[in-house]
Every structure is written in C-alpha cells, then in structure tokens.
C-alpha cells in the first residue's frame, strides 16, 4: 500500500493528534497541548520517516525511536518546565508516565500507520513476502518461545500472564494457547519484510518484547482488571522483572522466527539453482564463526579489565567449581570466544559501515547482559535467578563490560569480514551480490539501537 506525501502527512498528524488525546485521557498531559503537539509531532514524523518506514515493522521501530527522542528532548531534559535544572534524574523519573504514554500512544501507532501507508512494493529479486508464512512461522515461534519460557525457572509473578503466571484457570490456559501465537504472528506480519539475519531479528524481537511490557503489564492488564493504566514510577518499579521477562521472550520470538523463516527461505527459495549463492552458506558460516571467535577474544580483553576491577572473576571461576583467578580468566575468555562465534553467526552482513557494526555490537552486549549476569550466571551458580530491580542494580558494573565487549567484538568481526569482502569484490558480479545482501542504509536498525539501548540502560536506573 502506498500513498501520496500529503496523504501520509495528514495520516501522521491525525494519528499524532489522536495519540495526544489518549495521553490527555490517561491524565499525563493537558488535552489542548497534547493534541496540538501530538499532531505536529505526527506530521513531522511522517515527513521524516516516509522514506524510511518501509513497512509496519520498520515504521513501528522508527516511531518508538521518535517517541523516545521526543521524551528525551522534551519532558526529560531541554524543554522541562519549572527551572528545576536540566536532565536531572528526579525530573526523568517524574516524567516516566509520559515516556510510557509517548511510546504507546504516539510512537507505536504513528510508526505502524506511516509504515503501512508508505511501504514500497516488495523487491521482486528477493524472496517473496507472504502473509501466510508470516502468520504460520510467527505463530509457531510465539508458541515455542512461550513453551521454552514456561520451562524457565521464572518466579510466577515475573512471568507474563500468558506464559504461565496466572494460575490454572480455564481463561489462563486459553491465554497461554492463544496469546503467544498471536504475539508471534503479529511479529511475523510486522517484521518479515525486514528480516535479513538472525541477529537483526533478535533485535527486532527484543524491542518488540520491551514494547509489550509497556503494553501488557503497564497498560492492558490493569485496564482489564478495572484499574487505570500503571504508568507511574511506583507502579512500574515492581514490574521491572516482567520487563526483563518480556525482553527475553521477545528475543526468543525473534530468533525462533528468523530460524524457521530462514529455513523456509533456504528450502524453498535459495535451493533454487536460479537463486543459489555462489559461496555456500556453510562456507560463510564457518568463516563467520572464526571471525566471531577472534572478535570475542578481542572483546574479552577490555571486559576482563572491568571484571578485574569489579571483582567478578571469582564468581566466574565458580562456574567450573574453582576459586582460582586464573581459571576464572580462562573461563571468561572461553565464554567470550563462544559468544563471539554467536555474534558471527547472527550478524552476517548486517553492518554497512563501522558505526552500524558498533550499534549491533552494543545490542548484542545488552542481550548477553540480560542472558548472562541476570539469568544464566545466577542459575548455574545457585540454581535460580531473580529478575528484580535489585539484581539488575547489582549487575550494573557488568552491563558496562558487556557493552564494551559487544562493541569490540563487532568491530573486530567487521574488519575481518571486510577483509574477506575485498576478495569477493574482485569479481564484479559477486561484489554486486554482496552489496545486495548487505543491510543497506535506510532500514530501521538505528531506531532499534536507540530504543533497545536507551530502555535497556535507562530503565534500571530510573526504576532503581
């Protein structure tokens, strides 16, 4: 579906104005100001993102990033009223309801609308997009992710209601059967067009899961229970664990969707001799594993310095039943090499330039912070984990280490990948194919980095 520039602007203004009205209805902004500013923000977004929101999923991410920037540039800092000092933590905490409101009422609907209106025709040279495939694969991914999630030893109060946290009633059972596939199917419809590799899909899933935290526990669930929206800091604080849970669930949906969808594309599209790659998938995967391992080891060096300074190594040693610093050091580098190999497999051809590589690396570092110190690490050491704001606060030094690790891993990986590309570019046909397969500028990757990194880092600080 495509529309004229004026049509998209009008749609943007209308959705922005409506979002402003919803904000006013939720009591977080004055009606007149909210509707006017919402309409202006909507029109501006439509003008800026019309060429970038190439589908509802891409639009959603750009919309969320837009809402986040509005919050950062407005209520949380520069345009703050009252002369209370710029950028203060207290001010940001008090404007938390507006953050939730902007994301849900302005950013998400605005992005999906503009993306749906402005989506160009699909590229005929690529695999065909299919609504049926998106729904089937997405639904299966949602269901499997929920089943996996149910297997995790997550405290019931932290689980999303549809993932086994709402008792054994018939309604709860129905929710578990119906809601996860629905969430997965919506993910498929939104993001199938933007799927290139496993890593980016994992990123879309992560942002999607974070959005569901705002939409589910903070909005829909209290509304269904007859309470108002729970957008206050006090209401959100005990739900931080559910934020991690939703992020991990989204991450699982993203990865599973990518795996099944890529298999589908591999079996039914890339296996066609007319579309088969000259460089086999196996060969590129092996190379990516090697480059990723090297990147991971390089990333482990600065991370080790942070771990040494924060005294984390003895805990790492305990993973293999030792208390030696040297053993902890070795285990750390082994894990880093494996995580680096993971990066290599997940993020093949995702970065058109070094800046993009660092962006993906930071997201990967954040993912490992959620999966490592918050989940696997305590689980392997003590048999249980807590996704509470306190455990997140205790793991904050490690967060910086993981971000640095991700950035350095990505940087080294990208340098090695480019070195290999120099070979391939000797053949102009191969060079053209590589250029086509590499993520171009214009996809919603920057929006993803901003949303995921900001929410992933700001929320534990704000809610703590």
């Amino acid at each position: 579906m495509t529309a004229s520039a004026a049509g998209v602007l009008v749609a943007g203004a209308a959705v922005g104005g409506a979002g402003g009205a919803l904000l006013a209805g939720a009591g977080v902004a004055a009606a007149g100001t909210a509707i006017t500013l919402g309409a202006v923000a909507g029109a501006l977004f439509a003008a800026a993102a019309r060429g970038r929101a190439r589908g509802p999923g891409a639009g959603l991410l750009w919309g969320l990033a837009w809402a986040l920037m509005l919050w950062l540039a407005g209520p949380a800092s520069l345009l703050a009223r009252g002369g209370e000092g710029l950028c203060s933590l207290d001010l940001a905490q008090r404007s938390f309801p507006l953050l939730a409101g902007l994301l849900l009422c302005i950013g998400a609907p605005l992005g999906v609308t503009v993306g749906a209106f402005a989506a160009p025709a699909p590229d005929p040279s690529g695999p065909r997009h299919s609504l049926g495939r998106a729904v089937v694969v997405g639904g299966a991914a949602g269901l499997v992710a929920a089943l996996l999630f149910g297997r995790l030893a997550v405290a019931p109060e932290l689980r999303p209601a549809w993932a086994g946290g709402a008792g054994m009633s018939v309604v709860a059972a129905m929710m578990r059967i119906v809601v996860p596939p629905a969430i997965g199917a919506i993910f498929g419809i939104l993001f199938q067009r933007d799927l290139r590799g496993y890593g980016s899909s994992m990123g879309w899933g992560l942002a999607y899961g974070m959005l569901w935290w705002f939409l589910g526990p903070l909005t829909l669930e209290p509304l269904l229970e007859g309470r108002g929206v729970a957008w206050s800091l006090e209401a959100a604080r005990p739900l931080y664990g559910a934020f991690v849970a939703h992020a991990v669930f989204g991450l699982l949906v993203g990865v599973l969707f990518a795996v099944v969808d890529r298999l589908w594309v591999g079996f039914f599209y890339l296996s066609d001799p007319l579309t088969r790659q000259t460089e086999g998938a196996g060969a590129r995967t092996l190379l990516s594993l090697a480059w990723g391992a090297l990147g991971g080891v390089a990333g482990a060096v600065p991370f080790a310095a942070i771990m040494l300074a924060t005294g984390i190594f003895p805990f790492v040693s305990r993973l293999v039943g030792s208390s030696s610093l040297a053993v902890g050091f070795l285990v750390h580098f082994a894990i880093a090499a494996l995580a680096g190999m993971g990066f290599g497999v997940l993020f093949v051809r995702e970065a058109p330039h070094l800046g993009a590589g660092i962006g993906w690396g930071l997201v990967y570092g954040l993912v490992w912070w959620l999966l490592g110190p918050l989940t696997l690490f305590p689980y392997l050491l003590d048999g249980a984990f807590e996704w509470t704001i306190d455990s997140a606060a205790a793991a904050m030094p490690s967060l910086i280490g993981h971000l640095v690790f991700g950035a350095v891993t990505a940087l080294v990986y990208l340098v090695l990948e480019r070195r290999h590309l120099e070979w391939l570019k000797l053949d102009p046909r191969v060079a053209a194919r590589e250029a086509r397969l590499t993520r171009p500028v214009g996809t919603p990757a920057p929006a993803l980095w901003l949303v995921v990194l900001t929410l992933g880092i700001v929320l534990p600080i704000l809610l703590g």
Binding site: L89, A309, P352, G355, I358, W449, L450
Partner: protein, 593 residues
C-alpha cells in the same frame, strides 16, 4: 614486450596505497564535518553538565569519530540523527561512567548508585547525539552540494599486472594458483591464469575407489572455477608455446579434440610461466599394448574401467562356455606400485561383491591378476609392509605374477614374460608414466624420460620467468642430492615454494631452494585394510585404513566434496556398491556439431 616485472622490484601499488589509506581525503572531510557537528552538540554538554570544557571537547572528538565511522548518505536525516543518539549511550558509558571519574582520581561510576549520579550526563549525551547527528547530516549534504560528492582516495596509476600463466590443472598447477592467491590476496597487481584440459582438479588418491564403484565419480573432482577465487581458468590445451615472445597459444576446443583440430585458439602472454603439465601413461613403445590397454590416470579412465567391469559381468552371466566366461572375468592389472595395488584391491572387492547378483557366475570364474616386474610389490614401502600387503591381498583373492612383465597384448589375451598367455578382456596399465610429451617440444633441457630440468628453486635454467614442477619436472632434492619423486605429496610442496619464489621475484628478491622431507606413504589394499609408513612408523590393517581415510579426506579440496565423499563412505557401510552401468563402453565417441 615491456620490461618483465618479475626481474626487478616493480613500483609497489600496495605501498603507495598504504600511504593514502591513512586518513584519505574523504575520511578527513567526514571527520571535519563531524567535529563541527560535535562542537555544536558539545555546547549542550558543556552548558548543562559539570566539567563543561572537557565535555565540550569530548563532544568534538566523538562527533569526528562518529562521522568518520558512518558512510554519509544524502538526506538520511532520520538515520543519522537516530544513529548518533544511540551511540550517545556508549559515549556516556565510556566518558561519564569510566573516563572522567578516572581522570578525577575516583573509581569508575559503574555501580547502580554511581550511574544514578551521572544520569544527567546520559540524558545529555543522548540529546547531544540528536543534535550532532542532525547537524552532521545537514553539513554533509551542504558540503556535498558546494564541494561535490566525496572523492575516492587518489590511487596511484595502477601498473600493468604481473601475469602468471600456469599450464596444467593437476595438483601442481592448481596448488600453485591457490598459493599465489593466498600470498597476493586481493592485490590487483597480479593476474593469474590457469590453463587446464579439464575444468576440475582430480583427487587421484581416491581414483581407485571410483573405478571400484565405492565413490561417485564427480565427488573426487573439485571444479576449478569454484576452488580458485581470482584465477582466470581457461579450458584448453597448449597448441604452441613461444618462450622468446612469451606467448602461449591455447586451443580452446573440447578436451577430447586434439589441439591441432580445435576450432578456437587464444594467445596468452605471460611474465611468469609455470609448467605443471603432469604425466601420461608410458607404454615404452609397445603400441599393441597401448591399443588394447585401459589407462588409469584420469576420471574418465576410472569411469570406463567401472563400466567395463560391469559390462563383462553382464556378458559372463549369459555365457555358457566356461573358458570364455573365465576370459571375460579375468582382470589384469599391470604394475605393482601404489596405483596398481590400490586398483587391484578395489576391483577385487567390487567384483567379488557383485557375485551375489550374478547367480550363473562362480567365484572360481573370477580372477584379479596383478603383474609386476620386480620381486615385490609396493617398492615405495618397506619390505615388511609390502609382504603384509601381498599376503592380505592374496587371502582376499588377488593373484600375483611377480618378476613378470607384460610383453604384448592383443584383443582377448595378454602375453607375459617369462612366456605365458593370459586369456582376458581387461588389461589396465599402471606400469609406467612419462612426463607430458609437450615438454619435449619446448626449447628447454630435459632428461631421458622427458622431464624438464630445473634448478633447486624450480626455475628453468637460462629461461628467466619460466618455472616447472610436479611430474613434468626433474627437481633436485637439496637434502639428498637425488631428485624428488613424482608424487602428489611433493608436487603440493613444490607448488608452495614456487608461488613464494614468484612473489619474491615480483619484489626483486632472490628465489629460495625447495626443501622437503617426505612425510610417508599410505596405501589401501582392500576392505578396511591399508598399509602406512609415516616418518618411519609403520601401521597396517584397520588402523592404517582409518588413517588413510582421515588423511585423504582432510586433503580432499573443498568442504562440499568432503561431505559428499563422507556420505558415500557411510552409504557403503549399509548398502552394496552400485552396479548401474552408466556408460556404453562399446559405443564410439560422438562429438556435437
């Protein structure tokens, strides 16, 4: 002809490029734009946060780094602004959380409480990113409009590439090309061309398994066009070679068409010529033997042998005369070296395995005869291992005629010396090889077998830029003073040395001599049985067989081929060998119009 680049150090384009690669003009321009954008954003940081000047300075540095790392795209305001805002997060982590506290003599602020303390800086860095990103995009577009788009780094005029022409697509030639690719990488200053009469590299150690229907024929051949990444492959045969003019005429017709009768000819010039023409079967002038014997050198030979054996079984099944049936089912292999022994062992397994499906044929009708002129087979191995091989193969049904030569042959019989006559329809010749006859036509010095004489650096004396290796060359072994044996193991190592010497020549350095200690030898003699001698250690039986498979599977070029061969071997564990006849051996060759 211009001065040969191989003789002197050529103006090195790579070195010149490395000088401009460090901050090329486009990168300097981006960094300057980023610094301006970062300075504007830095004003926000400086005005709103403590340590104002430091923060403003950091803003300039981060802006320059960001712009340099992100390739500009026209009017990508949203992308650049949002990317810069996102990268504000690591900028905050590195500066406000770690660097500034350390500079102030404090601990990094990476605890939750510490981060809350520097939260205003996070918001500041994010807003900084928004402002800086927007300005970088606006300035990039403005500068592009005023000063034009970014220019590519100025490259020095590229010299004519050094042309390396490799004649021969066997182990020696392909390994030389692969090593040159590895050494020169994507450097466009060298152009490599390989001429081969087939479009694939045949992995000869597994050829006997193809003849014995254990492996699919194409699984042991690796296509040259997928193996070599930057080498131009020309399928054809050498029609004429002019060493003075440095030109080679290539007949590009079908491999089965003689060079003289080929339809098309291309002429290729060279700066370095590598002769890797390999060897052919040597019948020592016995034309009648050559007329009836099957060769065992190429993939087509192995396919022909397999189909021939199946064809004879089909005919023997309906043959009522016992003498004629024995004649049909007598398979003679001439030569007791590696090739002959492995082929005899493989054919023995294949033929005896087929008996189950041909009820009219008795085991006693079948004969696999290996004729060898010396006292013992496998002269490359120790006497003990050769004895083991003989004993095991005899136990499995192979008949040996030692100290016996194939003197003559005619359709239906092989004549031996000491005098004897073997009624047979099958003679496979592995008893001798000779360097490619093309070598003798060249104005270079050859030994009596027809191999090119080269010095220890693999260079042809008196012919600068001409090199030779492998089966077609007589390579001196500087360690022993003898000559290197014409084996694949030596050809591979010679290829590596030769490629390095060509690189040294392009740099104006002196070539180095070839040195190599043979690792050992491996030979399969039958089902799950082999002999191996590695660095003086001897192995036999199942372990040696596993070693053979592991070593050669590892050496087989290409992951895809490895997987295919592994699958073939696995299938063979559970299913009988394929006896489908895929080639009518009696049909004449036909050429397409």
């Amino acid at each position: 002809m211009a001065e040969r680049p191989g003789d002197t150090a050529r103006p090195d384009g790579a070195a010149a490029r490395s000088r401009t690669r460090f901050l090329p003009p486009s990168l300097r321009r981006r960094a300057a734009i980023g610094a301006v954008g970062g300075a504007a954003g830095g004003l926000i940081l400086g005005a709103t946060l403590s340590q104002g000047w430091v923060m403003a300075g950091l803003g300039v540095v981060v802006g320059a780094g960001f712009a340099a790392a992100v390739r500009p795209t026209r009017a990508a305001y949203l992308d650049t602004t949002v990317s810069a805002a996102a990268l504000g997060v690591p900028a905050w982590a590195l500066s406000s959380v770690i660097l500034l506290p350390l500079l102030a003599g404090d601990q990094p602020q990476w605890t939750a409480e510490g981060m809350r303390g520097v939260f205003p800086a996070l918001a500041g860095w994010l807003v900084y990113g928004i402002v800086m990103g927007f300005l970088v995009q606006a300035l990039s577009d403005l500068v592009a409009r005023v000063a034009g788009p970014e220019s590519e780094p100025e490259r020095p005029p590229r010299p004519e590439p050094t042309r390396v022409l490799i004649l021969g697509g066997g182990f020696a030639g392909v390994s030389t090309a692969a090593e040159l690719e590895r050494l020169f990488g994507p450097d466009p200053a060298i152009a490599i061309t390989l001429v081969s009469d087939t479009n694939a590299l045949l992995f000869t150690p597994m050829l006997a398994e193809v003849a014995a229907s254990s492996l699919e024929a194409t699984h042991i051949s690796t296509p040259l066009r997928t193996t070599l990444r930057r080498t131009a492959v020309v399928r054809g045969r050498v029609a004429a070679l002019d060493l003075d003019r440095r030109e080679v005429a290539i007949a590009t017709g079908s491999a089965s068409v003689p060079a003289a009768a080929a339809s098309g000819t291309v002429t290729l010039g060279y700066d370095h010529l590598v002769l890797a023409l390999g060897s052919v079967s040597n019948y020592f002038g016995a034309d009648r033997i050559a007329a009836v014997a099957l060769d065992f050198k190429a993939l087509g030979d192995a396919i022909r042998i397999r189909n021939h054996v199946i064809d004879l079984f089909e005919r023997a099944e309906s043959e009522r005369d016992p003498a004629r049936r024995r004649e049909l089912l007598t398979f003679v292999v001439a030569g007791g070296g590696f090739a002959g022994v492995e082929l005899a062992g493989g054919l023995n397994d294949f033929a005896r395995g087929m008996l189950a499906y041909y009820p009219a044929i008795a085991a006693s009708d079948l004969q696999i005869v290996l004729v060898h002129s010396r006292e013992r087979i496998l002269p490359e191995l120790s006497e003990r291992l050769a004895g083991y091989a003989l004993e095991r193969m005899q136990a499995r049904g192979v008949t040996f005629r030692l100290r016996t030569r194939v003197k003559d042959a005619r359709p239906g019989a092989v004549l031996l010396d000491p005098p004897d006559e073997l009624p047979t329809r099958t003679l496979v010749w592995t008893a001798g090889t000779a360097p490619s006859p093309l070598v003798r036509q060249l104005p270079v010095e050859c030994d009596k077998r027809g191999a090119v004489l080269v010095d220890a650096t693999l260079a042809v004396p008196g012919r600068p830029g001409v090199w030779a290796l492998g089966d077609c060359a007589l390579v001196p072994d500087v360690r022993t003073g003898k000559t290197c044996p014409p084996t694949a193991q030596f050809a591979l190592r010679q290829a590596r040395r030769l490629a390095r010497n060509i690189r040294r020549a392009t740099r104006g350095e002196a070539p180095e001599p070839f040195r190599f200690d043979a690792l050992g030898a491996l030979c399969v003699i039958g089902h799950q049985t082999a002999c191996a001698e590695i660095r003086g250690l001897r192995f036999s039986g199942l372990f040696a067989w596993l070693l053979w498979r592991a070593v050669y599977l590892a050496k087989l070029p290409g992951l895809e081929r490895k997987v295919r061969v592994l699958v073939d071997w696995t299938i063979e564990l559970f299913f009988p060998r394929d006896i489908v006849q895929t080639l009518d051996v009696t049909a004449p060759d036909r050429s397409q119009p």
